[in-house]
Each structure stands twice: as structure tokens, then as C-alpha cells.
């Protein structure tokens, strides 16, 4: 982890997302989107980290990120996802879900589509209309699934005015995040510590499976699915605990790892190196979890520079039958062999790191200290 560039941007960043690369492309990530929160006027912005050719006397200095364009967003940006190369879906604290379109020729953003009453407590028809924040959005072209504080799940399709499917009162508590397992299945996490799997092929309003932690019902804030193994899911909780689940096996997590000291806001498997996991938290730190088993220097506890690493052997709470030819290192059960190396990526403790995203060797994250950090050398 060599250089990480920070830039203060005068807005608290709630979400950062890399623009996906065209399939088969050999480029590295170049553009990312951010959403702000807690301002009187919030913005969705697009930034570029393309080489600006600034070389100083040391040579090889890469310019920091530059703003390309931005657009006003009504309400806090609660979640952000790229729908495709040009479209971004944003979830708002006003309960509105908006699709923004980027016009690369004149570098502007415009609103492509909007579902203004996607989430609400009492409906728009009634006199006591009260909106509810939309807390999570996930895209799988052409479908968009959103969840909110009203416990509702919506399935939208781009260019359809109305929701294709709505599950009212899917949950009696707040749904914090959603991810696709296999289409048409989604997985949601809520504020009473449950994972629920929903199958859109089924007609009813009941989840097809419920998993939960034993012990205290700690709210779960984020979830991410392993990119290759669709049954492996990682969640982060309010107590900073990272849990790895195998949704085919039982109702309890496979491992529980004590991680941060406060809420874990986002967890991401690296899309092309899934042995690497990244988490960020309210305690102001961003951690890189390396479960790969082929690094020869892993046994060394001492590292140069500002890296701080610790070893952690993970505890197994559910020793299920694991007959897999390709064992995910996150699920494997040998504590002696399998050690996870954890590195803190930010140079100093700051206010909460709200969001992160990884693509190739690039990582971007945003904080409540109104700073965006970018590195292009994750694995050096």
C-alpha cells in the first residue's frame, strides 16, 4: 500500500462507487461517483483520476482526483450504484429513487428516471403522508431492487414507470442493505440482526429463508456476496463485527470476526481477488482483510512503513459438513493454516469512513471529515 491521496471536498461523503469497466477491458478504473449527505444541498458528483501528466522532480507523480460534473440531489444520498456505464441509481433519504444519466460529451449529469414515492410510512394517498428513507439499492441490469426504513422491498425495471413488484411490510424493522444472490434471489439485512432471502419467483410476501446471529440481535448494516461463490455472504454489524455466512448451511454464521470498534458501514469482497475483503467503519478506519494463502512473507509480524498488521485466527461457530472441491478461504475450517492478515489503509484516524469501493488495484473511500481518499496501488 504505497500512496493514498486525500482531497478535501467540502461535503460529507456518504457513498463512493467506481464506474464499472466495459467487459474485457484492460484499462484500470478511472472514474468514480460520490454522493454527499447532511448538507442543505446534496450532490452526486463524478470524479476522474486519469493521469494529468504532472511530473515533479521525483518523477511519476499522479495527479489527484478532479471533479468532472455534479448534480443536485434532493435529500441525503443513502446509497449509490452504477446501473451501467452511463447510468447511476441513487437512493434518497426522502424515499425517492433516481436514475441519473451521464453525458460524456459535455460532461453533465441529468435525471433519467425517478420513482419519488418508492418508500414511505403512510402512503401518498393519505393526508398524513410521511416518507421513509430508502436505505439500499442494488442493480442487475435491467432490474433495480430497493429497500428502506419502511421495511418495504421494491423491484423496479429501468424504463418502467411503476414498480414491477413490491413487498410491503417485508420486515417489521428497518432494512439496511440488499444484495443479489442469484437472480431472482435477493438477500436483505435488517436492524434486528437477521438475513432474509427472498425469491421473486414465489408469489407470497414471506422470505424463503431467515438466518440470524445467535446471542444479541445486533443490527446488521451491510452485506456483500462473494463474487464467485454465490452462497458465501459477508455482513457487517453495529458492533463492528464481521460475519461470514454460508446460506446453504444452517441458519448461523460460519465465522465471526471481531473487527471495528463501531458500526461497520460497508463490506466489499474484491471483485477479481475475492480472497481480499475490505471494511470501513464509524470508528474512522478502513481495513484490508487478506485471506489468501499463497503469500510467503505472511508469517512475518513486522512490516515497514506505516502499516499496522495483526494476525487473527477466526473462530468457527458452525462446523458443518464442508465437501467442496473449491473451498473458499473464508469458509475453510483450519485455524492453524488459515490466518487472515489485516491492514489498516488510512494514514491516520479520521471521522467515520462511510463508504469504500474497490476495482482492480484501485480503492476509493469517503469520510465524514469531508475527504475522499484514492489509491491506485492496492496490492503493491
Amino acid at each position: 500500500m504505497e500512496e493514498i491521496y486525500a482531497k478535501f471536498v467540502s461535503q460529507k461523503i456518504s457513498k463512493t462507487r467506481w464506474r464499472p469497466l466495459p467487459p474485457g477491458s484492460l484499462q484500470t478504473a478511472e472514474t468514480f461517483a460520490t454522493g454527499s449527505w447532511d448538507n442543505e444541498e446534496n450532490y452526486i458528483s463524478l470524479w476522474s483520476i486519469g493521469d494529468f501528466g504532472n511530473l515533479d522532480s521525483d518523477g511519476g507523480f499522479e495527479g489527484d482526483h478532479q471533479l468532472l460534473c455534479s448534480i443536485r440531489h434532493h435529500g441525503d444520498v443513502m446509497d449509490l450504484q452504477f446501473f451501467d456505464q452511463e447510468r447511476i441509481v441513487a437512493a434518497s433519504s426522502t424515499g425517492c429513487v433516481t436514475v441519473f444519466l451521464h453525458h460524456p460529451n459535455n460532461q453533465t449529469l441529468s435525471i433519467n428516471q425517478q420513482w419519488t414515492t418508492a418508500h414511505y410510512h403512510t402512503g401518498p394517498g393519505s393526508p398524513s403522508y410521511s416518507s421513509a428513507a430508502c436505505t439500499g439499492v442494488v442493480c442487475n441490469n435491467p432490474e433495480i431492487v430497493t429497500v428502506g426504513e419502511d421495511g418495504r422491498i421494491n423491484l423496479f425495471r429501468a424504463d418502467h414507470k411503476e414498480a414491477v413488484r413490491t413487498i410491503d411490510n417485508a420486515d417489521s424493522s428497518t432494512l439496511h442493505a440488499v444484495t443479489f444472490l442469484r437472480t431472482p434471489e435477493i438477500l436483505t439485512v435488517n436492524s434486528i440482526g437477521q438475513l432474509k432471502i427472498w425469491d421473486f419467483r414465489q408469489q407470497g410476501n414471506e422470505p424463503s429463508q431467515i438466518l440470524s446471529l445467535t446471542g444479541d440481535r445486533v443490527p446488521l448494516h451491510c452485506v456483500d456476496r462473494h463474487p464467485n461463490q454465490q452462497h458465501v455472504v459477508a455482513t457487517g454489524g453495529q458492533d463492528g463485527m464481521l460475519s461470514i455466512w454460508d446460506v446453504r448451511q444452517g441458519t448461523m454464521p460460519v465465522s465471526l470476526l471481531k473487527a471495528h470498534e463501531a458500526e461497520m458501514w460497508e463490506v466489499h469482497f474484491h471483485p477479481s481477488n475475492p480472497d481480499h475483503l475490505f471494511t470501513c467503519s464509524e470508528d474512522g478506519s478502513l481495513w484490508h482483510w487478506d485471506a489468501s494463502t499463497d503469500v510467503p512473507e505472511k508469517s512475518s509480524l513486522f512490516h515497514q512503513g506505516g502499516r499496522s498488521s495483526t494476525f487473527l485466527s477466526h473462530s468457527i461457530s458452525n462446523q458443518a459438513n464442508v465437501h467442496q472441491s473449491v473451498i473458499s478461504s473464508w469458509l475453510s475450517t483450519d485455524p492453524a493454516k488459515d490466518r487472515i492478515e489485516i491492514t489498516s489503509l488510512l494514514p491516520s484516524r479520521s471521522l467515520s469512513v462511510n463508504s469504500l469501493d474497490v476495482l482492480g488495484p484501485c480503492l476509493v473511500c469517503g469520510t465524514d471529515a469531508e475527504a475522499i481518499y484514492v489509491t491506485r496501488h492496492l496490492f503493491s
Binding site: 478535501f8 471536498v9 467540502s10 461535503q11 460529507k12 449527505w37 447532511d38 448538507n39 442543505e40 441525503d76 443513502m78 433519504s93 410510512h121 403512510t122 410521511s130 421513509a132 428513507a133 436505505t135 426504513e149 419502511d150 421495511g151 420486515d171 417489521s172 424493522s173 428497518t174 435488517n190 436492524s191 434486528i192 437477521q194 432474509k196 422470505p207 431467515i210 440470524s212 445467535t214 446471542g215 444479541d216 440481535r217 443490527p219 453495529q238 463501531a262 458500526e263 464509524e282 491516520s348 479520521s350 471521522l351 467515520s352 465524514d368 471529515a369 469531508e370 475527504a371
Partner: protein, 597 residues
Amino acid sequence: MEELDGEPTVTLIPGVNSKKNQMCFDWGPGEMLVCETSFNKKEKSEMVPSCPFIYIIRKDVDVYSQILRKLFNESHGIFLGLQRIDEELTGKSRKSQLVRVSKNYRSVIRACMEEMHQVAIAAKDPANGRQFSSQVSILSAMELIWNLCEILFIEVAPAGPLLLHLLDWVRLHVCEVDSLSADVLGSENPSKHDSFWNLGVDGMTSHGWSLPYTFATSPHLESLLKIMLGDEAALLEQKELLSNWYHFLVTRLLYSNPTVKPIDLHYYAQSSLDLFLGGESSPEPLDNILLAAFEFDIHQVIKECSIALSNWWFVAHLTDLLDHCKLLQSHNLYFGSNMREFLLLEYASGLFAHPSLWQLGVDYFDYCPELGRVSLELHIERIPLNTEQKALKVLRICEQRQMTEQVRSICKILAMRAVRNNRLGSALSWSIRAKDAAFATLVSDRFLRDYCERGCFSDLDLIDNLGPAMMLSDRLTFLGKYREFHRMYGEKRFADAASLLLSLMTSRIAPRSFWMTLLTDALPLLEQKQVIFSAEQTYELMRCLEDLTSRRPVHGESDTEQLQDDDIETTKVEMLRLSLARNLARAIIREGSLEGS
């Protein structure tokens, strides 16, 4: 009491007719509320104000400027780093650390200045450009003062190096010289250029002896030589080349007294100011501040800066840094806290008035030992919580500081909101976080009421999965167990269901209002073909029933309703009594018979 320089500016509130109706106002932390009243100035007949709005008036534009926000955020990081500097460090290492912190602050100010300057140049609207330019000059003045304070108070350079630092200081702030040099040296015959000789004066202070001079006799040369020998009058003649009195001061010291001691500085400073102004103009606030600094009167510096600058940022951070240098004696203000704390409190309170920057304010309150905590407690409860995520952040701040009262009150507000929106799971989740047994009881009562009304449970996903949270309140435990009873009944585990039902009543965790429901739930068990309740258990049930009927309170309802209710109640009780008696009979017989028959 300062006299006003001019008339105060008048701000018109749109929509309010101040000639017709009177306005009222109230001060807030950083803003003012104004609205129209029904009090009419002339006639007494008008009762309704014509303008229905309340206006919020803010004076402090600083907080809202995008570029200044970077200053606040970056300096927040530096502030925290400073507080965490090891108190054990003394002597040289501590001093160098403090100087580094000071330089960090100054570089942040300069970065801000740079950016604002770029914006000022690029501004399309000239009025905007002027506003940004004036902001740039304010920042420049701030950096000038801070730099001088760094040299005199933090660096504490002795005589000799002191002048070198002051030279650097002036050089940094007098950009004119550099642009002049480029002009002159670029022309064809430098010695004939008008500015060449003028440059000599400036050049002496800025570039030392590096510029070449030809030795032709000329009045200019004579003048130069006089200056070099410390002739102040000669120097004064070149006044228009010196941009200000402190430039004059440093130049003068360079030639007349380069080994000036810090304590003698203020003599030279005062006289330089007087000579330079020459009685034509009076000193500006900036001049007074610098003068106070030269006199080593830190309190005066801070006081004047507080008056001159519109935002507490500068004085708060500078005072905090000087306090870390152990330079401020406890200057007690009338409410007892010292000056550093007072300024930090004012600054942090200002941050809390901003919708976004309140998070920075929290850390500043943390480092105010006397009133910081109580100020934070008051401010944090008033942050508007429009999303759960924001509420979680605020709660985390409170929990980290053991502010249990605030945690409870915030969780209660959120739980109430959830109940109102019929999000009972969320409500329960908030009461668990606050360990609020009373609210958990309220939520459970809601569930039970819903059950009674609808005959089935809502939100089974929640009740079935309460886990250890069930222990939070008796009512919640009851809810969980009652649901378990229904599950057991559904699975036809009648014996288990029966003993659970009984234990719910005998252990007294069931609320009395629910006993009738529980007894009614027992009916189908009593009427089963096989005997489920033992004789002992049946006696218990009877006891509960008698307990319930004997202590029935008198309701104050209307007569007809009362009669109807009584009817239903009496029928139920009679049915129960019958079922219990029959069950008792069968139980006694079964228990009295031989086992296995």
C-alpha cells in the same frame, strides 16, 4: 465601549411590512429568528399579520463558504493531533513539534487562500470576485498575524536569528519585490531603469547583496549608502517603496540593529509605525494587532483579533496552540473558565449551528475540560435526526462518552417515531439499544393489543426471533413465551403448551388484563378428548379464575354497555368454570386409577 464607525446596515425582510406591523425577534446560536406580529403600530383593528413566515437571518457567511469548509476540516485534524501530543515531551523536541503544528495550520490557511484567489480570478460576476478577493485579504492578514506569533511566541528565537525570521516573514508577505525584480532585470539597460535604484532599497532587504551595482557617482548611490549605514531618514525618503510599516521596521532593524533583542522590539515597532504613518492616517486594526504582538501582549493580540475577525476559528486555534506552549496564565473570565476554553466553546457552538459541521464540534468540546461535556450534552440532543443512519452516528458519539441520559432520550424519540409509523421491529430495536425496559413493555403491549384485535400476531419474524432480547422486560418475555405457547399448540405438543400456559399465569409475568385471554386459550385444551391438565394444574387454574373474578374493578361505562360486557364476561366465566370442573373430575379419576390401565 467602542463607538460605531458608521450607521449600521439595514436589512429588509421580504414580505414583512415594517411600517404597518411590528416585528419580533429572538437570538439563536448563530442566527436570528424574525417574524411579523399582530401588534399594529397605528390602528388597533388589524389582528392578523399579513406575512405568515418566520425568517431565519444569518450573519456568519463564513461557515457556509465551500472553500472555508476545507479550512475547518483540515484544521480539525491538526487540532486533534496537537491535543494528542505527548505531554511528557519537554524542551527542544516539544518546541519543534509545536512549531510544526503551527506551520501546518499556516499551510492550511495558505492553501485556502490560494484556492480562494483562483476562484476570485475566475469569477464571472465582479461583485462575487470582489467578495472572494476580500476574503483572500482577510486570510492573508490571518496568516500574517499567525506567522508573527509563531516567530515571537512559539519559535522564541533569540537575538540574531530573530531578525532572520522576521526577514522571512516580511519577504513572504511582500510579493511586490519579486514582481519588480522580474520587471527591471528584464529590461535592456537595468541601471538606467527608474526602478533599478528603487529596487536597490527593496533588494537590500530581500536579496541581500546579490544584485550587481555599477559604481557610478549618483545621488541614488549616495542614498543607498546612507541607508546601509543605518540612516533612518534616508530610508524614510523611500517610503513609497515600502509597502507598510512593518516592512519599514524590519528594513530599519537590518541596517541599524540586526542583533535586536526580542524585548526591545516594541520600541522599534512603535516608532516605525509612527514614522511611517507620519501623522497622516491612524493605525488600522491589523496594525494594532501586530503592535500588540511586538509588545508580547498575547492577551491583547487575542482580544483584538476576536473583535476584528467575524469568525472564532482563528482565535480559537491560535489560543489553543499558545496554551499548549504554556504561555497563557489562567485569565479568568467572569464565569470561571479560562480564555482558551471560552474561545473553543464559542467556536464549537458555531459549528453546531451548521447542518453538517456539527461533527467537528464534538471533538472540540471533548477538549474543554470544564464546560465541554455539558455543552456537548445540550447540543447533541438538538441535532435533527431525519434518517436512522444519522441517529446511529449521534448515538455512537454519546455512547463513546458515556452519555447514557442522551442515549436514552434519543432512542426514546426514535422508538416513539417508529411506533407511530407502525414499525414495531424498529421500535424494539431502539429500546434494546437504550436498554429501555419501559419502552420494550410499551412495544410488547402494542403487539398484544394487535393480537387481541386481530386474533393473530403481526410481525412473527420479530417475535419468533427475539433471542436474549426477550429478557429486557417482563412484558417482552411474556410476549415471547405466549407466542411459543401458540407454536406448541400448533405443533400439537399439548402437554408442553399446557404447562407453559399455566406457568405464564402463576409466575405473574402475564399482565392481569391478559389473564382472561389466557384462560380462554386454555378452553380448547380443557375440552380435548385426553386429559391434559392434571388435577393439581386444574386447581391452579381455578385459583387464577377466582382471583380474577373476585377482584373485578367497577367500570364507569354507560349502563347498557356495562350490561352487555357483563353478559359476555359472565358467560365466559361460566363456561370456564364448567370446563374446569369437568376436567378436574376426569383428572382425578385418571390419577386415581392404576397406571397403565
